[in-house]
């Protein structure tokens, strides 16, 4: 989505947001020694990570590596056992309110497509006049009055994405949003996410799909056994991964 200059902190495209005035920026994100223990098992085991403003970070790794857990910890849905998540030193609740998360399985209210949009716009005090434009953008304007729970998988995910974007998030987390979708739906999702990224929304995208990661990633965080095995620019990661786990993963070998 953008070309990168790699330093300690990967500098990406600055967010071109207008009207934020004096509001302190959400990024950079500093994650330090993040750990989550559940039932005596470490689901995350000391994650250190820094995210700079702008661009798209793809989080990859085998099942059980802790990708979704990491996303929820970053978004404030889970509390870590130890370690810290710091969004430019802002309070956690303030940071969560300026982010959005699209779940792998879209959580849609038992209402119409339009009412699902209205709900979020109203909850966030946003302009409800944006609803139609957002639905148009994700190709669901013609289904605005249909019950949301009758949408196909791809449509439901597009609605979830439109709903997330309706909050005008500074950071958009996506947890395998295209898993089990057909290629056309995948491309639509990628286009919408790409456009949001181009507008300056920071994207953090979890995927298992190596091809997709190649298409959208500016940088890659590779998780293995609850740790960051590698954090590199996409242009470095795919041709020449530094860690053995990432090399095996990209080669299609089974890693646990």
């Amino acid at each position: 989505m953008s070309d990168l200059q790699m330093t300690d902190v990967v500098p990406l495209v600055p967010r071109a947001r207008t009207g934020v005035g004096h509001v302190a920026p959400l990024l950079p994100l500093e994650v330090s020694g993040l750990r989550l223990d559940v039932g005596g098992a470490a689901l995350l085991d000391g994650v250190d990570l820094t995210l700079a403003p702008g661009g798209c970070t793809v989080i990859m790794g085998p099942n059980g590596a802790g990708k979704s857990i990491l996303l929820k910890l970053l978004h404030g849905l889970l509390a870590p056992s130890s370690g810290s998540v710091s969004w430019n030193a802002l309070p956690a609740t303030q940071a969560t309110a300026r982010q959005a998360l699209v779940f792998q399985k879209p959580v849609l209210l038992r209402r119409s497509v339009a009412a699902n949009m209205d709900f979020v716009l109203k909850a966030r005090g946003a302009d409800r006049g944006r609803r139609d434009a957002l639905l148009e953008d994700v190709g669901l304007a013609h289904k605005a009055r249909q019950p949301a729970r009758l949408l196909s998988g791809g449509e439901a995910q597009r609605l979830a994405l439109a709903r997330a974007l309706a909050t005008d998030p500074e950071v958009l987390f996506l947890d395998e949003p295209t898993a089990s979708l057909d290629p056309a739906s995948v491309l639509v999702i990628e286009r919408i996410v790409g456009e949001a990224c181009a507008r300056g929304t920071r994207i953090v995208f979890v995927t298992h799909d190596i091809g997709q990661a190649r298409r959208i990633a500016d940088e890659v965080v590779f998780l293995h056994r609850g740790r960051v095995a590698e954090h590199s620019r996409a242009t470095d990661f795919f041709p020449e991964p530094r860690s053995q786990a990432a090399r095996d993963y990209l080669a299609g070998k089974i890693i646990v």
């Binding site: 929820k72 978004h75 404030g76 849905l77 609740t93 969560t96 309110a97 982010q99 959005a100 998360l101 779940f103 959580v107 209210l109 038992r110 209402r111 709900f119 979020v120 909850a123 966030r124 019950p147 729970r149 009758l150 909050t167």
Partner: protein
């Protein structure tokens, strides 16, 4: 067995001949029980929803108490309401004793725990599905509660029906606070109790049959409303 057959004939006759007394009793039964159900829903549903979305110390105990209160003995409730509404009681100035208002109050107290406990279970299941989305959107507790109540409205109709069923079939509380006064506080169940005590079993059975048909009719009406609304909205069938 002879009296059962006679009871059916009598019930049919009572309904077909348009017995005025019967219709008065039926109307009062519906008025009291539907009013109590409505009041209990207004109180019990928010309580159920609030408990469904809240996590606090002692929540397990609250759930045990809520569930236990579903089995409140009607005569005990009737007695307590009687004590409060009697002339020397704290609410005696209201002059509600031996009025339909007292019967509504007693039935409301009886079914609030049913509505609260059952709605808590229904809404907790729904909340399990929505919780992360709600937290992601930073919804307040009140926003979460109102959203759950709206999205769970079809399932909650069943909860309301359960409350109505308990209210309309209840006799212990209404006979104590209503007094079974003819043309004033006589409802189906108290009339059945009276006819039984008088030994007029066929009439008591006939009234019982009418009561059953009445409850069946209300349930069927609400069920068909719920199903047609659910079909129209095509909301998640698992929660309908």
């Amino acid at each position: 067995m002879q009296s059962i057959g006679e009871a059916f004939r009598l019930a049919f006759t009572l309904v077909v001949t348009g017995e005025a007394d019967l219709y008065e009793i039926v109307a009062l039964s519906l008025q009291v029980s539907l009013s109590a159900t409505l009041l209990a829903c207004l109180v019990g549903l928010p309580i159920g929803a609030l408990v469904a979305v809240s996590r606090f110390r002692g929540r397990g105990l609250v759930l045990v108490v809520m569930n236990a209160l579903m089995g409140l003995p009607p005569v005990v409730v009737g007695l307590l309401v009687y004590l409060y509404l009697s002339r020397s009681g704290p609410l005696g100035f209201l002059g509600l004793l031996y009025t339909p208002g007292a019967m509504i109050l007693a039935q409301t107290i009886l079914i609030v725990p049913i509505v609260a406990a059952l709605s808590r279970q229904v809404l907790e299941d729904l909340h399990a599905e929505y919780a992360e989305q709600f937290r992601s959107l930073c919804l307040s507790r009140w926003q979460s509660v109102t959203t759950l109540l709206w999205d769970g409205r079809y399932a909650l109709l069943t909860v309301g029906l359960a409350g109505f069923g308990r209210a309309v079939a209840e006799v212990g509380a209404v006979i104590i606070v209503g007094g079974n006064i003819d043309h004033a506080t006589r409802v189906m169940t108290t009339a059945i109790a009276l006819e039984t005590s008088k030994g007029d079993l066929p009439l008591a059975l006939a009234l019982g049959i009418v009561l059953l048909v009445l409850a069946l009719g209300v349930n069927a009406g609400v069920q068909s409303l719920r199903m047609s609304a659910a079909r129209h909205a095509m909301v998640g069938a698992s929660h309908v």
